[in-house]
Symmetry: C2
Subunit: 391 residues, 2 copies
């Protein structure tokens, strides 16, 4: 047999697996190391009470033949999809059909799998720096990538492509830069896609962190977006589901290519290669939209955003050049003294025992930058800042 040789065009390991290995090595060599991770965007707060209550009730359902649930519906349970429609869209004036929502085990899976429904010969544009999954999964499929630079000069928001591209990945609030896009600029991307028969994969995983009321939460706030955009959502960062695994994708029925509905292709993918998120997890997701759940989600998000503020202000005071952190749980900082991101990573790990993510890991335009996350505890965030201040 022959292997998929496109895999050999990837860096040997996934960025965060690579970082985890470096941290593990440091720990082995320094058994007493008290490491604080502001690296991978993993949450630390426990699940909220309404979510825990829903899990407990759902587990009880699974213990009784009368309420036991086997295979879930292909697109996910209606009890969850109707809550998504109502809360994430209808309240924002966006009308979606319930069959335009596909529940999954998380935005990472959706990000990784969505490219499958497209031909190999599409030209794919990804931001640079980029969440590695957009780039890696297209490299694995043998596609040609075009990088859209996100620099200090353009406020870390990519320019509209000058050449013709077919698929554009956008992520706002952005991972890794923590920056946002205005509705006007986003509309320009939608207009480009309409004019150029392109599709936009819009990763809205961090929309719950938006504090500025003028910033769009969904690409469907733009005119005509349903004809050209797929949107991805996560329960990981707003409700702390990184270990519970839940997300959803939106593929509008209006989105067609040569008369073929992408919604039907995505359904075929879902029903053939996937068997749904666990019933108990979908019930947990439903609870995120309860009155109490919404309140708890807001509280968790605002607590993480206090960390973001502390990091942003703390580093600014220390003289660092800092971006993001105002509508996103990520702080993007320029490394001091023109250090490379990896050198700064090593410095932080060895001298401050703080783990971050080097900008180079997200692409060429990330060189000389560094990402810190707001997802640690308040105490650890403060301790990390204190250690960095003493460098």
């Amino acid at each position: 047999m022959k292997i998929n040789k496109d895999y050999l065009n990837l860096q040997e390991s996934y960025l965060f697996a690579d970082i985890a290995a470096r941290v593990r090595k440091h720990k082995e060599e320094h058994l007493d190391a008290d490491i604080i991770s502001l690296g991978i965007g993993d949450v630390t707060k426990p699940l909220s009470k309404p979510v825990i209550d829903a899990l407990n009730l759902a587990v009880a359902d699974m213990a009784d033949a009368k309420t036991f649930k086997g295979y879930a519906p292909d697109r996910g349970y209606e009890f969850l999809r109707s809550k998504i429609i109502e809360n994430d869209y209808k309240k924002r004036g966006i009308d979606l059909d319930i069959d335009e929502i596909f529940v999954s085990d998380g935005a990472k899976s959706d990000c990784g799998n969505i490219q499958e429904i497209f031909d190999k010969d599409n030209v794919v544009a990804v931001p640079d720096p980029v969440y590695p999954v957009y780039a890696d999964t297209n490299i694995m499929a043998g596609r040609k990538l075009v990088y859209l630079p996100c620099l200090k000069e353009n406020g870390f928001v990519p320019e509209i492509p000058k050449e013709k591209v077919d698929i554009i990945y956008l992520c706002f609030p952005n991972n890794p830069t923590g920056m946002v896009i205005t509705i006007d600029k986003l509309q320009k991307f939608v207009d480009y896609a309409i004019k150029n028969d392109a599709v936009i994969i819009y990763d809205a995983a961090y929309e719950a962190y938006i504090t500025d009321v003028t910033i769009p939460h969904s690409i469907y706030e733009c005119e005509g977006a349903k004809r050209v955009a797929i949107e991805l959502h996560s329960f990981s960062k707003n409700a702390g589901f990184t270990g519970l695994r839940l997300g959803y994708s939106v593929v509008p029925k209006e989105l067609k290519c040569d008369g073929v509905s992408l919604n039907s292709l995505w359904l075929r993918r879902h029903s053939t290669k996937y068997n749904g998120a666990p019933y108990i997890v979908q019930r947990a997701g439903e609870a995120v939209y309860s009155l109490e759940g919404i309140k708890e989600t807001k509280r968790q998000v605002s607590e993480y955003m206090e960390n973001a503020k502390a990091i942003y202000e703390g580093l600014s005071k220390m003289g660092y050049e800092v971006y993001g952190g105002k509508n996103a749980p990520y702080i993007w900082l320029k490394t001091p003294d023109k250090m490379s991101g990896w050198d700064f990573f090593d410095l932080l790990l060895t001298k401050a025992q703080v783990v971050g993510t080097p900008g180079e890991g997200f692409g060429k335009c990330g060189a000389g930058f560094f990402r810190l996350t707001a997802f640690a505890s308040k105490e650890n965030t403060e301790k990390a800042l204190d250690r960095i201040s003493k460098l």
Copy 2:
């Protein structure tokens, strides 16, 4: 943009989605219909007490910052993988390394995703009749399929391919026929793969249903299999996890292609496109291997096998030609009067209100056959048999 046109080579909908639509239509037209499903292989017994207890404990872990779990390790938690190694392999004299086990959200996902690590230009052999996922996911990737007929004449076990094929899917105990393979015959497939530089994807999802002690539970019982075989396992049918989603794949480190380790390619796929099964579900999986869990699993399996026996013997007495059902939860019957499987499906649905699966849905060689599952309750199984006897 251009879509993946290989999707257009698929039948419009996934087999079981198609059947569900037919059943839904029947229900809409007959509001009082008391339908019994012996169709899709979905379990009906609630989760066992040790599994429920483990879920409850794990949910409590998620409610406390000190025990909260975020992202899982890429290959799954060691607490689960060590139990798998110990119980499913070491007890059977098979030595595997813990890093050869990859925990997932179920065998369907693994079946669907494993083809990605192989080149498009491999020739893929699948049994006929076939679990649609093996065939459909390779069609979606644009690969050429070779069908290995499973007929009454060969005991529904395929012959060793005469031509050179690169990837061979095997499933024993078989879905849909319920038939098994002897260790001698399986060894011949392994020998073929070694000689022809082929890989075998061995789906062992139903191994818990084997009652005959001479039948292999794992392909690694064959000499040299670690050099050529990937094995897939499910918690769906043994422990009733269809709605909880858990499975695992085994990719031995010895399995290489042109010097490249398939284990490392599969890890790259896992870490890039997937974020692991939920912590609480992995804890539930661990409980399946506790003393109490093993006992409960055996009890559930043997209760389903009583249904299988009842269907096998009941239909035999009615004069049907019946296969399977002795080491598997599936009964494969020849339709009466040379009816097509779909005609028999309609007859059973409209006259007996019983849902089964037409053999045609599994491939050309399934024509004129029909699959019934043992996963209904004892009461419903008996009721269904009674209704069929009155046809």
